[in-house]
Symmetry: D2
């Protein structure tokens, strides 16, 4: 139902208007000057940097998220339950693999994708994780590295959300350092044209419900990517137990992948990518989404904290909003939300133009995770004891944002990536 507004071809963002319109619009805007006011939801008028279609997509994504996701998030978080039909709804709305052109995907701009991501994470980082894993990691890997056959076979169904993917890179003993992975692939000595995968992956979003698993493994010592179809796995070769009792991101399902000689046909190995370049390219896209998404979570925290501070009265009937220590927390959070979002738009535009370098994403992923987490925590203080009630939502955001800060590149790791880019010297060991 939401699909209609998602445009099917790339158009460039308008920005600050083309020169031809300068004189009249200048005049017009000067006339409207009096009407220009400060809007805490968009203090630096970033909407001026967006195309009309991007604004429409964001609006659709917000409508969907608030109407369909928000009502179920509390129960899902309490019960650590992820409703698989959410992916189908997202597919129907055109959110899955949305930046891909063709294969049933929407083909929107990278900024539009960022805006979708932000609206989903405004509700819950777990829902955004599900979206990211399906779009950036799983579909992204197939699109960027798969053969044409693989793309045609899997992308359309994944775009609809009827086939669920996951992305197996991290291992129990190798979090920040995937290059040391222990999972291996070997040529099946008994069956021509088959590989056998063995090893374990952990902290894999959606692994327990995935139909398709992108698995990175070492073949002759070199990291290669494989597409594992769950249905094809003989009994006893593949297990994907869920990890329960998580302290955050509980509305998302997370699990392990245990492989004991999982057979994979040769055509299901990505042909032309070797080493960490492949998984890192996928992660890069996911991290781009996290940079946007966390700004959505932060905006939700701001809105809720602001509202609470206005409605809660203490000491002579003053609303909390009247207290300087409260106002400072709000001002700090709003500022970083705006600055962070602006950086997302800028990086999105560079991405659209092919000017992206990975360190740009390290920069916005790290900063936006760090700042959204820090501010969510400060804003949580505004709720006093009531923050402990999950109905106020802020505690859930705080717990989620810690995970966002730590996964797909823990904050310190990105500090060192940036440090290396700045100095030319590496400090990892």
């Amino acid at each position: 139902m939401f699909r209609t507004v998602v445009r099917s071809h790339i158009r460039l963002a308008k920005h600050l208007q083309p020169s031809s319109l300068r004189t009249e619009s200048q005049w017009l805007r000067t006339q409207c000057r009096a009407a220009s006011t400060f809007d805490y939801k968009d203090p630096l008028q970033l909407r001026n940097l967006l195309e009309d279609e991007e604004i429409a997509i964001a609006s659709t994504a917000k409508e969907y998220s608030q109407q369909k996701l928000l009502p179920r998030v509390l129960a899902a978080y309490r019960d650590e339950n992820f409703d698989k039909s959410i992916l189908k709804e997202m597919g129907e709305a055109g959110f899955l693999g949305a930046t891909i052109t063709g294969y049933g995907c929407a083909g929107v701009s990278d900024v539009a994708m960022g805006l979708i991501t932000k609206e989903v994470e405004r509700v819950d980082s777990g829902y955004r994780s599900a979206l990211s894993v399906q779009s950036s990691l799983s579909m992204g890997a197939i699109h960027d590295f798969g053969t044409e056959e693989l793309k045609e076979q899997f992308l359309p169904k994944m775009a609809k959300g009827t086939v669920v993917g996951c992305f197996g890179l991290t291992e129990p003993n190798h979090g920040s350092d995937p290059g040391s992975m222990e999972t291996t692939a070997r040529v099946d000595p008994n069956r021509e044209g088959m590989y056998l995968l063995s090893g374990s992956k952990t902290w894999i979003t959606n692994s327990p419900i995935a139909d398709v698993l992108i698995v990175w493994a070492k073949l002759d010592g070199k990291i290669r990517g494989f597409l594992v179809e769950r249905d094809r796995c003989p009994p006893g070769t593949l297990e994907t137990p869920a990890i329960k009792n998580k302290t955050g991101l509980r509305a998302s399902i997370t699990g392990m992948i245990h492989m004991d000689n999982v057979p994979v046909p040769k055509e299901f190995m990505f042909p032309d990518v070797e080493g960490l370049r492949g998984p890192f390219a996928c992660l890069n896209n996911a991290r781009y989404g996290i940079a946007w998404g966390t700004m959505g979570a932060l905006e939700d925290c701001i809105e809720r904290a602001r509202e609470y501070s206005l409605s809660r009265k203490q000491f002579k009937g003053n609303p909390l909003a009247k207290y300087q220590l409260i106002q400072k927390k709000l001002a700090d959070a709003v500022t970083d939300a705006t600055f962070g979002l602006l950086a997302c738009v800028q990086v999105g535009r560079l991405k659209e133009q092919g000017l992206l370098v990975p360190e740009m994403i390290s920069m916005i992923k790290r900063q936006n995770c760090d700042r959204s987490l820090a501010h969510a925590r400060h804003l949580q203080e505004i709720f006093g004891g009531n923050a402990v009630a999950d109905e106020y939502h802020i505690g859930r955001h705080v717990a989620n944002l810690f995970v966002a800060q730590t996964y797909e590149g823990q904050s310190d790791i990105h500090s060192l990536i940036l440090g290396r880019a700045i100095t030319g010297v590496q400090a990892f060991c």
Copy 2:
């Protein structure tokens, strides 16, 4: 000219050891000098400030907590379940109302009580909450403000943990500002010698399981304290529903108190205390315990993070502990844990000597809550994605410590209490 006051021979400062032992212990310690090493668990050798008995009590409390509480905390936290028998065990161990002399209580020093509190909170802030509410708030209120009859009737059973108390001050609309409470007491127009209590309290630790409820209510506009016995309440007058789905302190049970003309005999009103002086005196003792307790939680975070950083290898087989960014987090946490604990000892000694003023407790409650929360969060980063698994315990401490920071005086409120004490000017409105 200034010289005269400068003494010309060495004299030892008089604290740290009794005079009688001075000479020999001095000699002994000098002999042991070579053996003196840095112990990250007690970097400034605070054990030197403790009596042997206090050390023994702390050791007992640690043994109990690690053996009896730790094994059940994960399940309790997951299920939001508090095992009422814990209070009986604590009673048996002598922990309940431990600073009270007589009435079956242990009569230990305030520092000893702090040490017990710390060991309990090393396992979980929720267990410490249960201990604090029983001891400082409920038994403390009865001991400090109750008649001799009330003390004799209730304290011995409460010391055993067979009668559970709770403390009803906070109301739904009045968190930081209890002076605006709406709960009222009025003379029962129908029964001689009885009051009727009506109103609601919220965020009351142990209210759903309490046998005895200390309730503060306004009688003719003045705040008075009442002891409500659950068993005596006619059906429909008292309800104490649990608050579920908390985002922290889940191993503690929290609830509301709804009163609709709860009858209380006149003898169950505290006779000589009026206004906020009564509840604040009790809260003060509880806050003193929080200052100690949070240091226990922080110490547990330090120990677990240290251990993890030594066992987890990343990048060329180096343990995380080898990374500067990790070491700084540990160094920062250990420093504030030590400084915070030292301040607890000092305030405890002042309390024992009757030299306490409430702002001292605002100072240590605020600082130790703020710092333990901040450091627990930093240390949590060391665990990377694994922090999300509750088996690592750190996520639980982080969630708990946020509650500790916000209850019994949110951090900002204590800032303003201190600010007022420093400047003589109040800034609450």
Copy 3:
């Protein structure tokens, strides 16, 4: 000499290219992808947001500042000396009142003006102060509120830097609250058409060397603006002593203004502006410049700290740059410098389009001052003891940036301005 590159009419910034160019440039840029690298001096490629002319103006401003200002700054700072000829050089280069169209001014975009400001403050905040006061405060006041006669009489000479202006608003007892000013204007009882000004202003940049003083005073209780010409003041009516022994901004000259019945002709009062609207409009422009300028100072700190960290070897011959704690400081600083600058560009574009609201400037002034100061201090630590030598420049930036944070709206004041805009509630008292 630098003037030629400063364009004399407004052109719109290019930005992310107009749609018509999309296809080919898209192709072109995709081709260049491989060449795209991370540049710590412009990590998010903000140069893409600038017009060619703006880039040229920035380049000119940098060339001038590095060649002409940098060589004299150490001596100037040591001796608290401001070389008045600097304003003439800036005038010759077209920097003074550069956004004004006509009256001998360059008429550049607000973003171009920001870039000039940034390059000047890269050398020293004091030099930027001199530029800001002449341009935004003095010329700005005359341009926005003066009669056509005043503009024609003063702006051309001020644009050349041959007439120096200053801006007298702040008073000894009224820093953050100018509405309480005590300086008064009254009708001269003896001379027709004249006002008499009396009162004192303090912390007035350039007051000791100013030829023209914009003075705000209360006439019949309402704040009005006056232009005072030093040459016309009878002896004993005007004194502008310098304030010496400053702890920062020592390359800028600061003073007081003492007025004892200074006569001002009626035509030298701004006719149509009353209350704080007038001075606040001027301050707003100056604050816009500070937001840009501090990013220049921060960039200089980054560059110097990076260079030092690469050249300084400690422990087994490793450069400091190899240490994680050093890299984190650099990564943090570079990130905020980029985010802050991006926000400046955005606000500049909004300003050019007449979409500015003052709170936007509170946001970027506050954040960029706070962050540049914090990071300059962190980067200073990289220099160890050598930071104390003024030849390393970092200590000077740190001292200057504290002043930038506190003047023209102390950081906390802007927090409360933002807090009021966010909540609709004011918390100033």
Copy 4:
């Protein structure tokens, strides 16, 4: 089961007072309870931990510092001038080498020495530096490592302040890593019993005015300590130029030491100490003093900021002290000042008992420098623009405390020393 160890009657903790006084003082103090109030200058009543003589010594040191040092500090700081007679005054007052017994020294406790240090640094960190260098570094080195002849020859005159010492360890290329020093000693090939020292030292407090220079140099690759008498150096062998234009610590004189075959008699080499153990032992004592001293500077900042906030009125005549953002700054600073000082007392007592390990000093040196610097900066904001006037003293403290943080072990270095002590793993390279 745990009950047995819990004592059943109240006993007072043994510290804070000698046993003999226990009963009566207890009684007395209980009587005084009503009088106990919060004193922002000593919020946790640390004076209770001090002997009467220590309190008297502190009082004398305060009197001297406020009467004799404070009046000259502004001029000294402006002119980068150190009045050598200050050392004579300090000598007369018994402050120099005060913990040494004999040799004309006062023989006070380590805590008493800390209190003296604190009072001197309350005026200026530079004056404390002069005191530290004379006492801990120069006299301390001679006392701990010199022969009896050296002690008798030099200590009495140095205790009087008539002979000035300095301590040459740091070299231009080796700040945090003195083990890589390049200064060498070699046997004089021409004169029996003489060594020749060559090399350069930098950032040496008092080197330009020193009569006696403790110099650490490598003899056959091993670090040894030498006492150089300026008067005995042939022309051209020793130069000690002052370093001017410092950005902090300007009331202290700092210089270099250039040695070109400086002859030193064999008896002037410390006989029994080799490697870094010697200089580190001296530095340790100096760092102990810095931990105390910075608390004095912070206390002065607090007192001045508090006073300013009470006297400065803004917005409807309210004093700044009424604003929450101001009160929080004060509360934060007062808390860390108290905690920091308490840790100093504790470490001092351990030092007196021979229980010190160097990491304890790393802990208090680092924390107290970091916190005093951070708080001084926050408090500086309270002064607004007026902070720039050196008459308010706060800018000077801020600049000084940065130096304190960076010298004698930059903060990060102490973090890594602590990290190593905590984890057992070193992270320096």
